[in-house]
Structures are given as structure tokens and as C-alpha cells.
């Protein structure tokens, strides 16, 4: 366990530093003047200079990055330029929305993907080709378009679910669930394809193994051969695929949250980028990166749990 944590830190620290430094350097190139943005066009040059000095903008870039980083490590990511609210407050209040969305989507992808993969491995034939076909089409369908189709069908034509918005779990669990259904399907259904493909390949590969023949020769019931033994051995690469899928899901939340008007991090990133709210952009990028790293750690732990060769 310690070894996993150590190896993870070794990979995650450079990523977090790299992304935050890159973000910082890039955002320092913004042609506009934050002091001017805050005070408006009527302010005099002296006032603007005073605000800039207050924001530390008169310092050289590495000093500013270092200051930002030490503040960030203490949970202070500065204030939003557009709303004046502390960035960290906004991020924490919105993290729950994004995590609900991603958690739901990964659940759909894992459950439906594994079920479809196993089924197509066992039945082969047209079902196998169907999984291939769906995988190809799934890759080609933009998730915002798919989400719109779902919205048109199940919120407008058949008003089963709300078209937009988000209700916190604490407020009403039922409405929370209903508000998540369409966005979760929007992200989760396309993500099913790679999971199903890996499951099918993995199961087919395991079914050819000598131990499967021996288990059958030993009189072990087929149900146990398949679900206890074959699926268990096919699990490790499926977990790896899920890890890759999670990263793409984070990208997908940007589109899905905008489409379904959900107050999550992805929607925040879009607003921050379009209003040039630099502290917010920096904060969102940092939180996204750290969250993805934490999920990678989780995946690594699960991977180790299903693979005794790594564990022992």
C-alpha cells in the first residue's frame, strides 16, 4: 500500500506542478489589465496601478507563481475578479455536482459495459458485431449532441425528467436523482463502449486459458467458472480502461454541465474562461487536476486489489 502511495505521489506531484505552472504562465499573458477590469474604464492610471500593486502584479512572474502556490496550499486561491467571492468557496460548493455526475456516469459505464461485454463474449455473432458497431458510433457521437437528443426525447417530448438544473441531494434525494438522470446518461452511455470492448476481449482471452478447461474438468459449475474466475481475471485491464474513461469524463462535464445548466466545475470553467476570470481559471484547473490524480490513485488501488501478482 505504501508503495502504491509513493509511486502515485511520484507521478502526481509533477503533473499538479506542471499544470498549475503552465496555467499560471499562460494566464500571465492575458493582454488585459486586471486593475482596469475591476475598476472599469473611468478609473485613473494611479488607481489602476494601486490595485495592481495590491494584487501583486508588479512582482516578477516566478515570485507571483510562488506566492500563488503557497497561498493555494493553504486553501486560498484568491478572489474571483467578476464576483469578488473567494475562488475556493465557489469550487467547494460546486465540486459535489461534478462528482455526482462523474460518479453516476462511471457507474453506468462500468455496469452496462461489463454486462454488454460479457454477453457479447458468450453469445458472439451479431451481438459481438453490435458491440463493435456501437463502439465505433459511440466514438463518433459528440456527447453534447447526444445529450440534446436525450433532452428532446425525455424532457421535451416525454416530460419524464427535468430538462435542466440540479437539485442538491440534501434538499430532495428524489429530485436530485431525477436531475442527474439525463446528464449521467449523456456522459455514461458513450463511455460504455470502450468498457464493453475491453470486457469482451478480456473474457474471450480468459476463456481460452488452460485453467478454465481444468476448472470445467473439475466439475465446477459454469456460473462459477464465468463469474468467479473468468471475470475476476479479466478485471484488471477493465479497471485500467475505466481510469482512462474517467479522465475523458472530466472533459465531458464541461459540455454536459453547460448543456444541462448544472452548477458544477465544468460549467464554472466555461464561464471563467469566457469572462477572463483568471484566478477562477487557475483554481478550476488546479482542482480538476488534483481530482483526476486522486481518482487515478483510487483506480490504482482497485487495480492492485484485483491483481494478486501486483499485490504479493
Amino acid at each position: 500500500m505504501h508503495r502504491i502511495l509513493f509511486r502515485w505521489l511520484l507521478g502526481a506531484i509533477p503533473v499538479v506542478f506542471g499544470v498549475s505552472a503552465l496555467t499560471f504562465v499562460l494566464t500571465s499573458l492575458v493582454p488585459g489589465d486586471p486593475g482596469r477590469t475591476i475598476l472599469g474604464a473611468n478609473a485613473g492610471p494611479a488607481q489602476v496601478a494601486a490595485i495592481d500593486k495590491q494584487l501583486g502584479l508588479d512582482q516578477p512572474l516566478p515570485v507571483r507563481y510562488w506566492d500563488w502556490l503557497t497561498d493555494a496550499l493553504h486553501g486560498n486561491l484568491g478572489d474571483s475578479i467578476t464576483s469578488g467571492v473567494p475562488v475556493s468557496d465557489q469550487l467547494t460548493s460546486r465540486l459535489g455536482v461534478t462528482l455526482s455526475l462523474i460518479g453516476g456516469a462511471i457507474l453506468v459505464a462500468a455496469v452496462a459495459g461489463v454486462a454488454l461485454g460479457v454477453l457479447s463474449a458468450l453469445k458472439g455473432g451479431w451481438l459481438g458485431r453490435a458491440v463493435d458497431g456501437i463502439a465505433l458510433v459511440g466514438l463518433a457521437v459528440p456527447n453534447f449532441w447526444f445529450g440534446l437528443v436525450l433532452m428532446t426525447a425525455f424532457a421535451v417530448q416525454l416530460p419524464l425528467f427535468p430538462a435542466t438544473g440540479y437539485v442538491p441531494f440534501a434538499e430532495s434525494p428524489v429530485q436530485w436523482f431525477e436531475s442527474l438522470v439525463l446528464p449521467v446518461l449523456t456522459l455514461g452511455v458513450p463511455a460504455t463502449a470502450p468498457v464493453a470492448k475491453q470486457t469482451r476481449d478480456g473474457v474471450l482471452n480468459q476463456l481460452d486459458r488452460e485453467y478454465v478447461r481444468v476448472l470445467r474438468a473439475r466439475g465446477i459449475p459454469e456460473r462459477s467458472v464465468l463469474f468467479r474466475h473468468v471475470l475476476r481475471n479479466a478485471a484488471a485491464p477493465i479497471v485500467t480502461v475505466l481510469g482512462v474513461v474517467v479522465v475523458t469524463l472530466f472533459g465531458g462535464t464541461v459540455l454536459a454541465e453547460t448543456l444541462f445548466v448544472m452548477p458544477g466545475l465544468g460549467g464554472l470553467a466555461v464561464t471563467a474562461a469566457s469572462t477572463q476570470d483568471i484566478p477562477m481559471v487557475q483554481g478550476v484547473a488546479l482542482v480538476f487536476t488534483v481530482t483526476v490524480m486522486l481518482i487515478n490513485l483510487l483506480i490504482e488501488v482497485v487495480y492492485t486489489m484485483v491483481n494478486p501478482k501486483v499485490r504479493t
Binding site: 503552465l22 463518433a140 474562461a273 487515478n296 501478482k309
Partner: protein, 649 residues
């Protein structure tokens, strides 16, 4: 150096150089996709001239009207013509994709080739940055870029190419590594040709296919990303495929049709790129694969030969009522190249309770097929086409799968050839044996674990508790085989089939495993032992069956078989046994090889390798018949003479 000169020095057969495009064109899906992509490109480029309307021309009277003669694909919210906007919108998307791919290729290809060719710190840098980038959601970085360069889509798409470049470099690197080891590249290095020339002249042509595939995949990804940015309203304000979907999203309540044209455009474009890259990949695989060497006629010829071959019609003998296992006329067909082909024919033998029967013969003679058919575990598509397998009062050849499953493990145990891979790598040895115990006895988990430890002691594993807690990869081959035997004994079977149980083991361990099998026999369990080793056979078995090319050629008591073989094949096998080798003399071998099931000759299967072959041997199938001694039979028309000759030696 001019490009013509480069071409001249690349000595590759013309067919390989020009065949790629031609072969790709022969794949319908890829060819149609390539054509479609070209068409979209052309229409997009010519949009200014061929689009029916100005993409921004408004006609408020016709807003949000569906497809009509005036507007083939309908109109948007300000009455703008959808078709014209699609044509012009393609320009934005295709420009974005072009920018991404330009950056992606200019950085990724050289970086990958240098990393693969030179290695060292640069190689590590490329791999490290690829790892780093695959952990970051690309779109977030692009949002950062867009917050700096407001509405500057070109900057975002260039950044996208930059982010993809290390991933391309990683793929190109491994392709380059492969080429680098090729003889002609090593020869070029040895001839002192400079690295730069080698990379450009020898490496680039070989990795270009891989690059094409990667580029089309990343191009598809770039389309998704560009339209996504357009949808978010972060790109340009011009008409684009993405912004058209954003427009549709505002009108899903009133005009859902708007989703169709823009959606179809994006999906079909990406689908075409995907199919093209699949086609490229397949063409690439063919290019470096040897040409298919099986003309279809050969398969047909084999099938016809099989049909023509006179079938030996042998009346099935009655099963031996006293035997534990009595096999009569067992014939099994497996699909070979899609044609059901007999792989064992007319196999008969008996086994009494507590007896050890050896099955011996070269690889490919049907020993393992015979054994697996006893358990009803033939490979997919295989079936028993004739014969009976009488075991404990029922015919296993006709048994239902449920009945067979009750026999497996409980009445007949199986010991595999390859001890380590016969265990499930994800479970401890103890758990696997305990599972078998539970299946066969229905006892509690605790009792099953206890019984597993007892079984481990029975098979003389040194530290049963430790082995029980070990995973297969932590066991030696000998220990794993003992675990396998323990599992085979978990149901207390009357018969154990061991398929070359010692082949994969060290010599010293082999003896210990054979001792275990001998102990088994003492406890009254019958054993079928498949082996190559005459020493093992003579040591352990009571009777033996010799198989050749799918048939039993001789069956006898072991001592009689070894001292006076009746069939020429048995004699040949025995004399080529290293145990009988005379120091300083070359080891005699049976000339030739076992014919595969598709090429069995009419008449005696051994005719082409037999030193005693006569014309009669080739005429018609030889039946197995009882010899002088009562308990002995051979499939040979000149066996008695042979016994006489060996007796004189």
C-alpha cells in the same frame, strides 16, 4: 539530396511501394469513407460559390421552418439557410482540424523517431510527457488557453495539437524501435550512413502507416473538440457545426429538426475518419504479413479426399461389463479450417478399477483428444460422431451436459499438462481446492478449507498451510502440480486422467509426482496416463494403448508391449527411446512425420513411414485385430512376423 535520388536508393519491391493505396481502395468501407471525406472537403472549400444562400442572410419570415424546396435542410432561428451554414461551417471545423494536425505531426513525428532511434534522456522525456498529458483533461487546458486568447480558436486548436504530440511521439517511438532492429537498418548503420539519412530514408517510410492511422484518430478527436468549443460559444462567431448545435439546443422545444443536419454532419465525418483509420490499420497489417498461403482449393481437395476415402465399417464390439471404463469405436470430429474432420477414429480400450492404462504416441496422434472426449470437453465445434464410452453403467458419449458435469471431478479427475497455468492466477491454491471440495461434497466453507489442507498433506506438500495461502505464481511447478492433483482428488474419483503430468517439470520432481500417481493406484483409483516416456509407461502402467494418426495401433499388457512390440510403429517408437540408446551410436528415429488429420492416407495410416510396408497396406483400411495372446491386439496386417523377428534378436 533530391527526392528522386532518395527514391532510387530505397530498394523496396515496386509492388510494396505502390500497393498501399491500391489495397486500401479495395476495402469498401475505407474507400467510401475516403471518398466522403474528400467530398466534404471539396464542398466546404467551394462553399462561397456553391452554397445556395449567404450563410448569414436572414429571412425572419421563414425562421425555424423545416426542410422545403427553397431550403433543403430548413432554416435556423433567424431564418438562415441550414444547408448553406453547414457548408460554410465546415470551413471553421476543417481549419481547426488542420491546425491541430499540423502541430501534432510536425512535433510528434520527429520527436518520436528521434526518441526511438537515439533513446537516452530525450526518449525518457517523451515518455514522461506522454504519461503526464494522458492524465490531464485536454479541454480544461484549452479553456485556459481560450481565457487568454479570447475567441481565438486557432490558438486552442494549436494547443490541442501540442498536447497530442507526445502521445503520437510515443507511438512513433515504439514503431521506430521495431524498425531499428531490422537487418537492413543495422546494415545501414554498420555502413556508416548518417543517422539523419537513415531516419529519413529507412525509418520514415516504415512508420508512415502508423502515423497515418494515429493522425486520422486524432483528427476525429479534433473534430469533436472543435465542435465542442463551438457549442460552448468559445470559438469564432461565424457559422460552425458546433454553434449550429448550440442554436438547435435553444430551440429543442419548437424545432427539434435542427439537431439532425448538424448532428449528422459531425457524426458522419468522424465515422468516416474512424472507418478510414480502421482500413489503414488493416492494410498496414497485411503489408508486413506474409501472403495468405492457403488457396481455397486445398481445403476442398481435403474434403473431397475425406469423402472418397473408404470408411472402415467395423461392427461395434460389446463393451466389457467388468471394466470400469470401456471405450468402443470412439470417433471424434473437430472443425479444421471450418470443415468437420475426423481426428480420432475407431478408438477402443478397457480399463478395470484400480488399473493404470498408458496412452502413448507422438504429438498429434490424438491422445489428448481421446482423453478430453471421455469428459465431454472437446474444443468448440468438436463432436463424438460414433462409438460408446461406458463408464460406471452409463454411456458418456451420449450423456447430457448436466450428467457429464456430475461425472467431472466427482467420478473422473483431471490432471493437466501445465501445472502453473492450470491454476486460476487470481485465487490462492487453498481457495481453489476448497471450491472443488465444496462443489463435490456440499460441505461448509470451513470444512472445505480443512479438507483442502488434508488433501495437500495427502499429496505430500511440505507446508500445507503456507501453500494454501499462496497464489499460483508463488508456487514452483512441482508444488503447483501437487495442488492440481489435490484438486483432482477432491471429489474422490474412481478414475484420474493425467495428461502428460510431468512433461513441464524438472527430472527430480517428475519422479516424485510419479510416486504420487503410484500411491493413487494403491488406494484403488484407476489412472489413465498420457505420456511420451516409455520409462514412465513401463514403470507405472499395467496396460498401454499406442496411438498413431488418430487410431489405436496396438493395445497390450505393458511388459509384452515393451519387450515384443507387434506393430512396426510401436517398434519404431521403442527403438528411438533415448533410454535404449547405445553410447556412440546415433539414436534411431522413425523417419518422417505424423500426417495431419486432413492428410490421412487410405489404408494403414503408418504406411508412408513403415519399413515393412507392402501394397496390401495401401489398399484398404486396416482393422485392429486380436493377436496370438488373448489380451493383445494390433492394427497391422503383418504383425506376427514382427513378433517373431524381435523374438530372435
Amino acid at each position: 539530396m533530391t527526392s528522386a535520388a532518395v527514391k532510387n536508393t530505397v530498394r523496396r519491391p515496386a509492388s510494396q511501394r505502390h500497393g498501399f493505396a491500391a489495397r486500401l481502395a479495395r476495402k469498401p468501407a475505407a474507400a467510401v469513407s475516403a471518398g466522403y471525406l474528400l467530398l466534404v472537403l471539396l464542398v466546404t472549400l467551394l462553399a462561397d460559390w456553391i452554397a445556395p444562400y449567404d450563410p448569414d442572410a436572414q429571412d425572419l419570415t421563414a425562421a425555424l421552418s423545416g426542410p422545403s424546396g427553397h431550403h433543403w435542410l430548413g432554416t435556423g432561428e433567424l431564418g438562415r439557410d441550414v444547408l448553406s451554414r453547414l457548408m460554410h461551417g465546415g470551413q471553421v471545423t476543417l481549419l481547426g482540424v488542420a491546425i491541430t494536425l499540423a502541430v501534432y505531426l510536425t512535433l510528434g513525428v520527429p520527436a518520436g523517431m528521434v526518441a526511438g532511434y537515439r533513446g537516452g534522456w530525450f526518449d525518457r522525456l517523451v515518455l514522461k510527457s506522454a504519461d503526464l498529458i494522458s492524465a490531464v483533461p485536454v479541454i480544461i487546458v484549452l479553456l485556459v488557453v481560450l481565457s487568454v486568447f479570447t475567441s481565438n480558436e486557432s490558438a486552442a486548436m494549436a494547443a490541442n495539437g501540442l498536447l497530442g504530440a507526445p502521445l503520437l511521439a510515443r507511438v512513433v517511438r515504439s514503431a521506430t524501435l521495431g524498425v531499428k532492429e531490422e537487418l537492413y537498418v543495422r546494415a545501414a548503420v554498420a555502413n556508416g550512413i548518417s543517422d539523419r539519412v537513415i531516419i529519413r530514408r529507412h525509418v520514415l517510410p516504415r512508420v508512415s502507416g502508423v502515423i497515418l492511422v494515429q493522425a486520422s484518430v486524432y483528427g476525429a478527436y479534433a473534430v469533436l473538440l472543435e465542435t465542442g468549443l463551438g457549442f460552448l460559444g468559445l470559438g469564432t462567431t461565424q457559422a460552425s457545426w458546433g454553434s449550429m448545435i448550440a442554436e438547435a439546443s435553444k430551440n429543442v422545444g419548437t424545432d427539434p429538426w435542427l439537431l439532425v443536419p448538424s448532428g449528422f454532419m459531425i457524426i458522419s465525418f468522424i465515422l468516416a475518419l474512424g472507418l478510414l483509420s480502421d482500413g489503414l490499420r488493416d492494410t498496414l497489417a497485411e503489408r508486413y504479413a506474409p501472403p495468405a498461403d492457403k488457396p481455397p482449393s486445398r481445403r476442398r481437395a481435403a474434403r473431397e479426399a475425406l469423402a472418397k476415402a473408404p470408411k472402415a465399417v467395423i461392427p461395434l464390439a460389446e463393451p466389457d461389463k467388468d471394466a470400469l471404463l470401456s471405450v468402443r469405436g470412439l470417433t471424434v470430429a473437430l472443425p479444421i479450417d471450418g470443415t468437420p474432420t475426423e481426428v480420432i477414429r475407431d478408438v477402443s480400450f478397457d480399463l478395470r478399477a484400480g488399473e493404470v492404462l498408458g496412452i502413448v504416441g507422438e504429438t498429434g496422434c490424438g491422445k489428448t483428444v481421446t482423453a478430453t472426449s471421455l469428459l465431454g470437453m472437446l474444443p468448440a465445434g468438436g463432436e463424438i460422431t460414433a462409438g460408446t464410452i461406458h463408464f460406471e453403467g452409463s454411456d458418456l458419449a451420449k450423456a447430457e451436459s448436466d450428467a457429464l458435469r456430475r461425472v467431472r471431478g466427482r467420478r473422473i479427475g483431471w490432471i493437466s499438462q501445465d501445472p502453473i497455468s492450470s491454476l486460476d492466477p487470481s485465487f490462492t491454491a487453498g481457495a481453489q481446492v476448497a471450491e472443488a471440495v465444496r462443489v463435490h461434497t456440499g460441505c461448509t466453507r470451513k470444512a472445505a478449507r480443512q479438507r483442502a489442507l488434508e488433501l495437500f498433506e495427502l499429496v505430500r506438500l511440505p507446508d500445507p498451510a503456507r501453500v494454501a495461502a499462496s497464489y499460483p505464481h508463488q508456487l514452483s511447478g512441482g508444488m503447483a502440480q501437487r495442488v492440481g492433483i489435490a484438486a483432482a482428488l477432491s471429489g474422490n474419483p474412481a478414475l484420474v486422467i493425467a495428461d502428460e503430468p510431468t512433461t513441464a517439470l524438472d527430472v527430480t520432481v517428475q519422479a516424485e509426482i510419479l510416486d504420487l500417481l503410484r500411491d493413487l493406484q494403491k488406494t484403488g483409483t484407476a489412472v489413465i496416463l498420457i505420456t511420451h516416456d516409455w520409462g514412465v509407461l513401463a514403470d507405472l502402467c499395467d496396460r498401454a494403448v499406442v496411438m498413431y494418426a488418430g487410431e489405436v495401433v496396438e493395445e497390450a499388457e505393458v511388459t509384452a508391449l515393451v519387450t515384443a512390440p507387434a506393430h512396426p510403429y510401436t517398434a519404431g517408437l521403442l527403438s528411438s527411446d533415448p533410454h535404449h540408446a547405445v553410447p556412440g551410436e546415433p539414436l534411431p528415429a522413425v523417419e518422417g512425420a505424423v500426417p495431419p488429420p486432413t492428410q490421412w492416407p487410405v489404408g494403414c495410416h503408418f504406411q508412408n513411414r513403415c519399413p515393412r510396408v507392402t501394397d496390401a497396406c495401401r489398399e484398404k483400411p486396416v482393422v485392429i485385430s486380436q493377436l496370438t495372446a488373448l489380451e493383445r491386439s494390433a492394427r497391422c496386417i503383418r504383425p506376427v512376423e514382427l513378433i517373431g523377428e524381435t523374438a530372435h534378436d
